[in-house]
């Protein structure tokens, strides 16, 4: 097993607002090993994006606050105590990030090239000419044809898929060891989704970086991830390898997510869905947060349950029924 690159433990990122305290991320722990792809899956509002932004400390504080007791260790270094200066040295350099909305993630008033060269000049201390050459090379690497022409274009001249490729080029520019991809394909057409995922997998293999892939799409997870963390209501409800999770999901929520995937053999049948919606983060239910939507609820669910380790594996699940 390769060494741990990122270790998040008991992360609690709360939003302190006039409407109350939103416990968006409420005690999340997981780790990313060097070179692996870890997927974080969950519905909208489960805290996966806040988790990813917490790692780079990109959330506006206030209202967000990473509560004491949380810990994010990157390559042996605790990030939550790090200075702003240290964080800036890591961002875009050791850890970079791509976002959900390629249409709005690039600055409309600067050329694609200038947005790529920025990180190169900042972290890799390249001069203008070197950085431009490297930007063109990167654009080529992420599959943009005519890179030497595209480099001088503005984001609005590119399609969504192309813009996401540019974002990937920016993220890759300084050879990060961890790439956080927050729903990188959600806003794209299905065919382009597949291309972007393929590109990410390809680049990961070539550069040997770890990828933390945030998504709500289990299909995406199956395609590119090694391990999965399933989140619900600000907590991790189940973790395991992709094979384990897909073959033997333990938590009723994970089973519900899997059941709601369309499958060829169930063609013509109604898609399964999990009844209800994610509760509000200012008002999580007592006990199991999934209880009111769970089909297998029992008396014990009224009490908060610990994460149960399954047998001798690294798998854990937050459910009374997950017998070791």
């Amino acid at each position: 097993m390769s060494k741990t690159l990122l270790s998040v433990s008991d992360l609690r990122t709360w939003f302190h607002t006039d409407q109350g305290v939103g416990r968006a991320v409420d005690g999340v722990s997981f780790e990313v090993r060097a070179g692996e792809t870890l997927g974080i899956v969950g519905e909208s509002g489960c805290g996966k994006t806040v988790t990813s932004l917490s790692i780079l400390r990109l959330l506006p504080e206030p209202p967000a606050r990473i509560e004491p007791g949380s810990s994010i260790v990157f390559d042996g270094e605790e990030l939550l105590g790090a200075t702003q200066e240290r964080m800036r040295a890591l961002r875009g350099n050791e850890i970079s990030m791509i976002f959900q909305e390629p249409m709005s993630s690039l600055n409309p008033v600067y050329t694609v090239g200038s947005q790529i060269t920025e990180a190169l000049r900042l972290h890799r201390k390249m001069d203008r000419v070197e950085a431009r050459t490297e930007a063109i090379r990167l654009l080529g690497e992420v599959g943009i044809p005519d890179a030497d022409r595209r480099v001088d274009e503005y984001p609005h001249q590119l399609s969504g898929g192309m813009r996401q490729r540019v974002m990937i080029a920016i993220a890759l520019s300084c050879e990060p060891r961890l790439l956080i991809a927050d729903e990188p394909t959600t806003a794209l057409d299905v065919t382009i989704q597949a291309q972007i995922l393929e590109l990410l997998a390809d680049l990961r293999a070539r550069h040997g970086m770890a990828v933390l892939l945030i998504t709500h799409d289990l299909g995406v997870v199956a395609e590119v991830c090694d391990r999965v963390v399933v989140m619900y209501a600000g907590q991790v409800v189940e973790t395991g390898t992709v094979d384990e999770i897909f073959a033997r999901p333990v938590h009723p929520y994970t089973r519900g997510l899997l059941a709601s995937l369309p499958a060829v053999e169930r063609r013509g049948q109604r898609l399964e869905s999990i009844p209800g919606t994610v509760p509000n983060s200012t008002d999580w239910p007592e006990g199991c947060r999934f209880a009111e939507r769970c089909s297998e609820v029992e008396d014990a669910c009224a009490v908060q349950q610990p994460l149960v380790q399954l047998g001798n594996t690294s798998r854990v699940a937050r459910c009374w029924r997950a017998d070791p």
Binding site: L56, L58, Q84, M87, R88, A89, L90, R91, G92, N93, S96, M97, F99, E101, S104, S105, L106, N107, P108, V109, Y110, E118, A119, L122, H123, G143, I144, P145, D146, R150, E153, Y154, H156, Q157, L158, S159, G160, G161, M162, M167, I170, D189, T191, I192, Q195
Partner: protein, 356 residues
Amino acid sequence: MTSGTAVAPNDEATSVTEGRRGGDLSRYVLRRLVGAIPLVIGISSIVFFVVHLAPGDPARLLLPPGGGDQDVIDQIRRNLGLDQPLHIQYVKWLGSFFTGNFGYSFSQGAPVRAVLANTFPNTLLLSGFALAVAFGVGIVVGTIQAVRQYSAADSILSVVLLFFYSMPGFWLALMLVLMLSYQARNIWEWPIWFPASAMVSSDFGDLSSVGRLADRLWHLVLPATALSLSLAAGIARYMRGSMLEVIRQDYVRTARSKGLPERLVIFKHALRNALSPIITMVGVYIPMVFSGTVIIESVFAWPGMGRMIFDAIGARDYPLVVAGTFFFALTVVLANLLADVLYAIADPRIRYESDV
């Protein structure tokens, strides 16, 4: 579009727009200017007829009160061409307009063109300085407020800005004269006070070139402040709102995620986007400052076009009033054109997509 599609090996590589590179800006500007000619002539013509409707006789106003008998007055009227029917006067004025003379000023006893040539540069200096101060202060203050939203600095600045925004320009001008000129110099005996009138000191001719520059700036302080403060307050208000919107945008987060220092995130990535709505205001604010000079120049005895028009109205100096109005109308047209051009420069989406 064909080239993009042909080259694309496997995917969506066609760009949304191929982008007309560097739209023909100068032709656009020329077209706008030509289009403005009838507008400006129309406005001047309307003003021509309206000032003639105003009561009062320029010939009588040239004479001391009660002085001059009817013969003298008639003679003056004949000299000034006021004895002729209005439509004849109009045609004559139009002729002088096209030759660039703008007629002959009754009250100044000189061609209007000469009067304008003497006063316009002074107004340009004052207005230009006031505009630079208004936009500079407004943009900086608004940005600080947005970046420190809800802080004590933000709240205090908001109150101060509202105070100056609500204050009438002429009153502010009088208060500035009272406090920073008269009181500061004579009563409080402060080491720093500012002149309340004129453009330069009487010993201007004896000063070195640096001294002359300092003297000019010193004389500019009060009138430019009076002219620009409420404007700066308005611009800061807009800037704060615009900046608040921009710093929540995804691309600002992207900039941070690259590890850029906050200074660059704000002043490079956010500021340029936040300026777009401010730039549109150039078209409104330049004319506002120019018309503001009518009052402010009168208060500060600034020998510019604003004060000239003010005096000309009092003297029923028709050619001068109409010529002055023509210049103000021209300012509106040019300021709007400038705003459009700046907008296209600031935002590549406009530059490539519109017909600019």
